[in-house]
Symmetry: C2
Subunit: 505 residues, 2 copies
């Protein structure tokens, strides 16, 4: 058994620690391939030292150099689509087609190229010139960034290739990626490709580095270390809150995308008038990728009356008839089963699924719960915790007033959605609910499910706490996502030769 080397300070180095782990095949539950190291503090310290040195060299570079890096990296990822997607499939069970090869990899390289285009023009940095006062300002690089990727997008959100990677590098910052331990081989393969590009373009050792895993205490120590200027994190609320507390205590910018139950308010007219559309939209959105999306519709508010009962019945049948895809990892399966027990303990009623599937690998039955609005409103916090996977909770209202009450007790969400018609009653209810929901969600949808986060300059993949750490920032979409990893730099009466090029007359 080989222990994989680590990409630190420009080279693939033998690990110096003793702990290792292996990837699992979610189809079988069996480990396979190399052992990967859990880095000790010596390795982390080397990464921090090397990133600091790289930063001293690259912080004055023009955007075009970072653009070139991102574009060349996108090209080699595209050129190596087959091996990347095959390995990612083994490690995640996400299908090569259409998901990885036709969806996630093109999305990833598109992100890299969009970020490159912004880095090249510099428009993302909002250069502002006040000639009268001779004051100028611009957003500039902030320093080495720690980017911690999630389990559910091995390419598009990976710390070494995804949206945070693109934003960090395009803003001119060195990056230390923490790959997710659910897909170490995929991460290694991409880091190997990246290394060649970095060398070809004469980037200093330590501009981009990757750690496979570390002890959580070392991770928090890294967050607090003054050599890390900012942190990007996508993952669970539990980890995110701990990282946020560590960063906040030292006044360090931290951008987290943590969790969301993405409420879907189905208004009475819409349920009767667009019944089949609502059924198909919800089914596709909730079970896609076994529901392992941060925008999975985990809470559906249904109107009083017979249509809601019919909707639930149809969903029960469809959930039972649909074969669940494997989950990403054992802990996703365990997390679902634990949350099911908690929901049952609160008085929610199981309508479909609820158990692990028989056989090998990480599969849980497509699962549906229902709860009365009265029960929900009695202890809303019991129902506001995400179930990450192919599961959702229907809230059965008995009066329209309950819609407002439910909206009122939601916490911060990535998305919120209304299914409506143009009927006067729907319209009136929408106008009552929208202002309340608007303040609680980053993205508001109408007659459209929240899964599928377009990489658009108008996207907000963000929202109030606890969905993220700050409601003013988005993790997806250029140029806005780049400004997370920057600082506002003002020049007052500074000689022209000492100004950044974009601030000169």
């Amino acid at each position: 058994m080989t222990v994989a080397r680590i990409y630190l300070a420009g080279e693939w180095r033998e690990p110096t620690g003793t702990k290792t782990f292996q990837a699992h095949n979610p189809q079988t539950g069996q480990v396979f391939g190399d052992e990967y190291p859990v880095s000790n503090w010596d390795e982390i310290d080397l990464a921090l030292k090397s990133a600091t040195k790289a930063d001293a060299i690259t912080r004055g570079w023009p955007g075009s150099r970072f653009a070139e890096l991102l574009e060349r990296y996108a090209d080699v990822l595209d050129a190596n689509a087959d091996p990347i997607c095959e390995l990612a499939n083994q490690e995640t069970a996400l299908p090569v087609t259409p998901r990885l090869k036709n969806g996630e990899l093109p999305r990833t390289t598109n992100q890299l190229r969009l970020a490159a285009a912004e880095a090249r023009t510099g428009a993302w940095a909002l250069p502002t010139i006040d000639r009268e006062n001779d004051i100028r300002s611009i957003y500039r690089s902030i320093g080495p960034v720690l980017a911690i990727g999630p389990n559910n997008f091995p390419l598009a959100y990976n710390g070494i290739s995804g949206g945070d990677f693109a934003a960090v590098v395009a803003a001119g910052n060195p990056i230390i990626a923490k790959a997710h331990p659910a897909h170490p081989g995929t991460s290694r393969l991409m880091a190997e490709l990246l290394q060649k590009v970095l060398q070809d373009l004469d980037f200093p050792a330590g501009f981009a580095q990757m750690l496979y895993d570390m002890h959580p205490a070392d991770g928090l120590r890294m967050v607090r270390d003054p050599r890390i200027a900012a942190v990007g994190f996508t993952g669970s609320q539990r980890s995110g809150v701990a990282i946020k507390a560590a960063a906040d205590a030292c006044g360090k910018p931290v951008f987290l995308e943590m969790s969301s139950i993405n409420p879907i308010f189905i208004l009475p007219g819409a349920l009767s008038g667009r019944f089949d559309e609502v059924v198909n939209d919800f089914l596709g959105s909730c079970l896609l990728g076994s529901g392992q999306f941060c925008t999975n519709p985990g809470l559906v508010i249904l109107p009083p009356g017979a249509d809601a009962a019919r909707f639930v019945k149809v969903m029960q049948e469809k959930f039972a008839a649909s074969t669940p895809a494997p989950l990403l990892a054992a802990n996703v399966k365990e997390g679902m089963l634990m949350r099911f027990q908690q929901l049952l303990g609160t008085g929610a009623e199981l309508l479909a699924g609820g158990k692990a599937c028989a056989g090998d690998g990480y599969r849980v039955e497509n699962t549906l719960f229902q709860v009365s609005a009265e029960r929900f409103l009695a202890t809303p916090e019991a129902f506001l915790e995400e179930v990450f996977g192919n599961s959702s909770l229907m809230v059965m209202t008995s009066s329209e007033d309950q819609y407002e009450a439910i909206a009122g007790c939601l916490n911060g969400q990535l998305t919120g959605c209304f299914y409506t018609t143009e009927q006067a009653a729907d319209e009136a209810l929408y106008r009552k609910l929208e202002p309340v929901v608007r303040r609680k969600v980053g993205r508001l949808l109408n007659n459209k499910m929240p899964t599928g986060v377009a990489v658009s300059p108008a996207m907000n993949h963000g929202g109030p706490f606890p969905a993220t750490g700050h409601p003013g920032f988005t993790a997806v979409g250029f140029p806005a996502s780049m400004r997370r990893f920057s600082m506002l730099a003002c020049y007052d009466h500074v000689a022209p030769q000492h100004l950044p090029e974009l601030l000169r007359d």
Copy 2:
């Protein structure tokens, strides 16, 4: 003795608590005028309830309504310049002319009008339309904001009239101002003028409210209260850090402007070649307003050699020859004397001043310390804490390398400044120091002192922690300062009639 009423929920109400305080005349140290109430939680709770109600009404209003409020308020403040400035002078000892009437009040009303102009066009909100994907986004109001003003600008940073007030209201948010207890009468007078404008323009009760003071524990409870959407604070690092911790723990946006020592690096060529200019610039900047500015130059790094000794000698004479103006309050005086003792304990040498002035009122001698670079570098943290007032610390280097070492151990600052010439040696040293200092300061100056913060769209009155809580935001300058009190709101596939006007086709 009358106990002043409090402007809560649209009316001037009798206080229900028992604690009160009075304003002091800093010239004499004597209290004068009414008693002002320290609000209890009942009053705070009423403010929170009323702000929430107002928010439900105003959150859909167009920007023009907030613009009108700000413009009308600016007009009545200008029309009442004499009584406002006279009262502010009694409470702060800041001179009516030129400071209050010719400087701070026009600055205040200019800020209100600039914010109004942004609110009217809506350009501040960065409306972004992606027609292809039918995704649109815009920055929108966030909800009721608590704005806590400092002691040193009774008008331009007052919670009921200053930069945060303008930004909060222009972004469409209700405001609860906490006036600083050093100038309660001035704050009351402006709130009275504001009330009339609010009534004339049919704003709901509770859109703008003002508390004179509260127990710190109630203040933190208010910060944590879910009815407060965001917090703006200008004041001491000690209070700011406590407020930040309370807000961070509930994931609430908080914008703090806390403290800064504003290092001035005087390069060797500049000290010899521009000696008189450096002397006059520093003297004016450091003693202006008794040094009670967040951008006061509190740390001066001097080159090796005879010019530095001469500079110190000239400064000793000029500091001693200049009559100190009164400080804002007794605790400013006490804070200075305490920090002087701390500095003496670290091995800094007193060059001028160092004692309270004889006679009545709050005056401290113009005070100058020096310390060797070796001593500074041995325990830099001992010298990085602000002395708020007419005092500064000269660091005497014995080699150019020490400039780099000093730059390297600075923490986050509002400003950093270089005095330079175009001589090759200065140029080379600038190029070595600038990248290090650039990352640590919000505003970088060259041959100009940091006091005097222009209200410019290119201004950054901000910087890395602990100068503020986040290096991406400015407290001064429109439109950027408005986006602090907003959230990013995305609309995905939302019907045109439900879109904000600026997002329609």
